[in-house]
Symmetry: C2
Subunit: 205 residues, 2 copies
């Protein structure tokens, strides 16, 4: 999975959506990112998408439904990225390096949607929250398993694989908070640095 | 600086404030944390503080002024913590370990106020934002200088001290996002783990 050629859209990795739904979700990401979920109305989103509130309502009965769909798509994309990268790697250290490079770069590239997804978890409708937390747990467990396989292979030294997996993912997620597209570092440069820091955190001395 | 015995208040480290101002700031943190800055009104805050909007207005002319004061107090407390810890250390590795332990534990203990401060930076009034960014930069420069002194002493190996200092602080800040007071780890346990991870990130092999 690459993270290039994708500027100017919040959800460019989503290919299977009809154009109308995509437009509504893009508008919702922009509105939530600018004003926060609670201060946004479905009317704001409809206006940004160039639709009537009634037309929006046909697809998404509430702004909570929009948030849930944005969050679901974001989490599923992140899970796919982690699964595919780890599945294609054979060496525990190389696999960790690659997945962290891509995961950190992803949170830089898609910082607007990542902020919405991460900061508005409490605003998710209850059923959606459970489903999305299950995806988050899957991602954490995959990285935890990668650390366990590195420890088993004798190339990593980690006391608490679960806590360290969470810390490494947390480091990557927080890139979305401070990343500035006009800043000195590109998403790939940040990803490359973070991959090296993650390897240092776990490598057997 | 310790982070114990402080549950139940958002700003317990602020000792110099009159009780009335403290009550307004505590109410503002709760309101912003629950609903976000944009969806909160000064009336909401006054009601939570048990005051009339007019009484609130005497001290804080806008909700932006409340946010700025919360952010200023939070950033100044974090800066003091970093300054005091580094000033009292002589060994570069030990100093880094101690400051990261305290900084990460602080973001767990005060996760509610930290979330407000970190997620609403864009909502700060312009003049306040500049002042607060200067404090953030001071904190980053202190940690960066600590890494440089470790490299100069031959005990750390770091290519880009500025980027790594920012990454280590970012790791600690993100604790506020996911920390759960009912979770398995205490603030001090998280701080101790994170201090060790930070040392691993920079120590010369």
């Amino acid at each position: 999975m690459t993270v290039e050629h994708l500027d100017g859209h919040n959800l460019p990795w989503v290919s299977e959506l009809p154009e109308s739904s995509r437009r509504m979700l893009e508008a919702a990401v922009d509105a939530f990112a600018d004003h926060g979920f609670h201060a946004t109305t479905t009317r704001d989103i409809a206006t940004r998408a160039g639709l009537s509130p009634a037309a929006l309502y046909v697809h998404f009965p509430s702004k909570g439904a929009l948030l849930a769909q944005i969050s679901r798509l974001g989490h599923e994309a992140a899970l796919r990225l982690v699964e595919e990268t780890l599945a294609s790697s054979t060496d525990p250290i190389d696999g960790l390096r690659e997945v962290i490079r891509d995961f950190a770069a992803w949170h830089a590239q898609y910082h607007r949607v990542a902020r919405v997804v991460q900061y508005e978890l409490a605003a998710l409708p209850d059923g959606d929250r459970q489903e999305i937390f299950a995806v988050r747990q899957k991602i954490e467990r995959l990285v935890e398993a990668q650390l366990r396989s590195g420890v088993a292979a004798g190339v990593m030294a980690v006391d608490d694989e679960r806590a360290v997996a969470r810390a490494i993912l947390s480091l990557c997620v927080d890139v979305a908070r401070w990343f500035d597209p006009k800043g000195a570092q590109t998403p790939l440069e940040i990803g490359t640095l973070y991959a090296e820091l993650a390897v240092r955190m776990v490598r057997r001395p």
